[in-house]
Symmetry: D2
Subunit: 338 residues, 4 copies
Amino acid sequence: MAERIKVGVIGCGYWGPNLVRNFAKVAGFDMVAVADLRQERLDLIKRQYPHLKTTKHYRDILADPDIDAVAVVTPISTHYKIAKEALLAGKHVLIEKPMAQTVTEALELIELAEQENLVLMVDHTFIYTGAIRKIKEIIESGELGEILYFDSIRINLGLFQHDVDVLWDLGPHDFSIMDFLLDKEPLSISAIGVAPIAYNNLVSIAYITINFGDDTIAHFNLSWLSPVKIRRTLIGGSRKMLVYDHLKHDEQVKVYDKGVEIRTKDAIYETLVQYRTGDMYAPKIDQTEALEVECKHFWDCIVNRKKPITDGWAGLRVVKMLQAAQKSMANKGEVIPL
Amino acid sequence: MAERIKVGVIGCGYWGPNLVRNFAKVAGFDMVAVADLRQERLDLIKRQYPHLKTTKHYRDILADPDIDAVAVVTPISTHYKIAKEALLAGKHVLIEKPMAQTVTEALELIELAEQENLVLMVDHTFIYTGAIRKIKEIIESGELGEILYFDSIRINLGLFQHDVDVLWDLGPHDFSIMDFLLDKEPLSISAIGVAPIAYNNLVSIAYITINFGDDTIAHFNLSWLSPVKIRRTLIGGSRKMLVYDHLKHDEQVKVYDKGVEIRTKDAIYETLVQYRTGDMYAPKIDQTEALEVECKHFWDCIVNRKKPITDGWAGLRVVKMLQAAQKSMANKGEVIPL
Amino acid sequence: MAERIKVGVIGCGYWGPNLVRNFAKVAGFDMVAVADLRQERLDLIKRQYPHLKTTKHYRDILADPDIDAVAVVTPISTHYKIAKEALLAGKHVLIEKPMAQTVTEALELIELAEQENLVLMVDHTFIYTGAIRKIKEIIESGELGEILYFDSIRINLGLFQHDVDVLWDLGPHDFSIMDFLLDKEPLSISAIGVAPIAYNNLVSIAYITINFGDDTIAHFNLSWLSPVKIRRTLIGGSRKMLVYDHLKHDEQVKVYDKGVEIRTKDAIYETLVQYRTGDMYAPKIDQTEALEVECKHFWDCIVNRKKPITDGWAGLRVVKMLQAAQKSMANKGEVIPL
Amino acid sequence: MAERIKVGVIGCGYWGPNLVRNFAKVAGFDMVAVADLRQERLDLIKRQYPHLKTTKHYRDILADPDIDAVAVVTPISTHYKIAKEALLAGKHVLIEKPMAQTVTEALELIELAEQENLVLMVDHTFIYTGAIRKIKEIIESGELGEILYFDSIRINLGLFQHDVDVLWDLGPHDFSIMDFLLDKEPLSISAIGVAPIAYNNLVSIAYITINFGDDTIAHFNLSWLSPVKIRRTLIGGSRKMLVYDHLKHDEQVKVYDKGVEIRTKDAIYETLVQYRTGDMYAPKIDQTEALEVECKHFWDCIVNRKKPITDGWAGLRVVKMLQAAQKSMANKGEVIPL
């Protein structure tokens, strides 16, 4: 890794410091500057990394000719604007999820990056975890057979965001995971959301269903109002079934040799359902921090002109689902084509 | 408990033997006779309880003047017919859930029982568990505050029934629990179901949402196609939140002193969400087998002319939700008023 | 299964009714009579099984020429006496664990059964569980490699027995499991016990260590004073390691492809420890009730003149360990040869 | 916090970087310099914190008049030597556990620190976790009643250390926790250890029992050879019982209203054991990183001349138990007075 990339981080709230820490750790990067509107966030960074430049004005970073790449880790409503300016300033961009508020904005960023010959990568962090990479491998091997359903639950207490509801806050995680894992195009989406806590009219519980035009189904249970934290996805296949529990120390992924078979008894013209229950196994999962894997991939894409696994198009597909789900929620669960 | 009630059990498949065992154990009953169409089921009962009368013809039981009460534990499609005959024959009836296939049938049974001055009780078993009784007590004490949501998941591998789908098989459990616990009238229901396994076109995964005309929501996740068995209900209140996990040995019910509060900071005219996180406690749960409690209650209702906790009206409300959910599934999630 | 065996159960406290229920269920047996000193226990049995003979005098059962076999499910101090009388009366005997209070008594029962050509089987129930049978199969296949350690914990709150301490109450379970699974002869035992609750001076917490004359070790943690119930055994091998958790619904047995290897780097004459961490799998476990399997085996041994898996010698080996551990406890952990 | 303390970290293997990170974060410290024998460890630190001085010679740090305090995070065999030099150089010292290899060495360090009027603090990290601080509070409140037993298990796969066995590696954690929590003086210790993996003759499984001269007992199960990671401590009291599970996200501490009572029924002169089973609760636990709490306490002790909670004497008591346990292991479990 000869080439070194100088990087700045714009936005240093909850997630930004994790990017700072990883850019500081990954060999190919020089972590150079951090921007945030709040002086106390900059002070915190300065205490830990006295050598970094800090500024309240993100345009200082964009204007710095030394800086090759930026991470945009600001509130969602500013993603498009800042990322666009960054691309126009000639910087490679790693953008927080969801990448934009509309499909139109997402598309504009994608096109701009292509014009400028710059890397545009979306921070769909989960795609870089050992667990999701292992599940992708298992599904692609055909071990599960045909995918029958994708059932996801992501609930906890908080955090309420000022500007986005639970759909836009938690949905991008599971939508990006489903988009990455399933080789199926969603046809329509329906969603029901409620706002039992009267805060800015923000939906804090949402149930979303995705239809694929066949008997496959995807369902998402998102909540900011659960006393317990659950992050679990079930993926049922015609041959085997899989459970992914993000919060487990060990055994994050379990593959069950379980299934249902339909048998026809010839003699009596009767159809029978038979259950198959065999062993379960939990594959070894690479425990490298996802952000570290992701930062290395960002470096690789910049230096070797590769297309990111989570490129602008992956980001756009997630935004498309969010927009449609939001429309469905506004119309009490109406089915919205994708 | 002076008075003794002579009882017969009609239907001896998966669940019937549990009723036989409990009627044999509970002091006020004399378990007398069992009916089933299959000789091998009768043989099995006969081997364990050689003193019982067994018959392939349930009308033998209804015609027996010695028998005071019967349990109807047959396939759903026969509940109405057999229960009606039993009531007409002057027997008190404990009927398996769901009590009927339509609201009309349920209503007819209720009226018939009232006319004949007989006890009609529905076997909503969960209502008699220590856990659900404790949760009822907690909710009624006001400890949770106003109920914000009810989120239930009941999934496992199988059993496919020949004649009913997952909604009619698993739904009655959670609908009866919600009906018992919440002091709220459901206004409408919507449901989405799929049949990824092509067996008699039976829906094997269903997601149901119930609306109460305010910002409260109830959601049910039912599946016959999960590699893991989960039975868990979350009940969120404005003060505290509760998790009920039926499969735990210990700590089936946990009450979390967690909540969300909206504060307005006067000086800066800003509204803030604040989280409250305190202790959790798991109340001691009575571990008496629910069916034993239920059989004793059936005896008490018969002997002391009491109204069962799970009377015909409770059964009817569950059937009403099932019928509406089925209609919604047939119409791709259309909202059906209740 | 042509031949039918008539069986009586002597002792109907906590465990006896389970034997009654299984003898009633298993096809080859006719459950005939039950003895217990307490009328209320007999009444309970009579209510559930009105056709059974009940008596307060166990000798009524021994004297009954119709009865072929008896189960002795009485307090430990009476096992030897009653089993001896039963054998002398020509009955096959299934005896509760531990089979006797001393090795001498155990040996006398074994010899008597051989003389009389009768089956003497010890109710080491766990040996007949699907989990233990599967573990035996895994160990015998060589999959774990050489066994390095056996670490067992069996703790819960209660039950205090009037006449025996925690060693004699819980120890037989784990000693019989270890005896069955490991193909190694214990050389010595040491044990430490305390009686923090002053009740008949009964030890309620005991730690026992077994030595095999090499670097293998077995350790047992037994307690009547734990707020949580734990039954877990770890078996470490040179190739793989295994965890057995009796209380799990699923995945009672997990096999870990984990291990330690010692490598010598030639060039630098340095010895290195290397860890190997691979997949885990949980084999499918037969869920048939252990007592049912055991009763069938008892029948098979009687009818087909087979040697029980848990014969008198297995019972004797467990008694030998109990006696030695008790002696060690009395001498503050002194190492007692076996 | 006006005063700033300049600090150096000596030793940057597995644990050292955590101290660097926390000293960098905690407001009162200026993290200044790091020493390690291995250039690659220094490079790693330098990449993340380019402003730090790095050196292969720890004496460079001791000789730096600007530096007020050092953390000694080197292999155990060097603790005494480096800490002594540091104290003689006038530095306050935070020393890794166990603080020394012998009681004599520990005592010498304590006396030297007192002479020089310097802070000597031992890094018993667990004492600074929210869980242990909460348990201390619960025990001191008398809620558990009189302590009956302390039962600890700390097992996982690896890490084998080159120079110390599992007793010296894992024992200090649990010995320091017990020393902190229980207000009882251990009278004697016995230990059994085996080395089933032939690596430098290092014991990799150890069982240790501590006696307090009454019927209280403490037991420790330590292993480097377990396929699963378990860190759990049970503390039984005469009134309530407590379970501490370090690996849980939530509910690390559970308090059970369970107990045993001895009742004497006067009329029949019979003593009865009665179990009491009530609710369980899990107190809210402060989740601040323990090292951060500890670093702040170190700062407070230096600036405000306070005695550390984990001072040299706490460190010495742990070393005393380790030395005695080691002697017992060498003598096959001989009881060693403390």
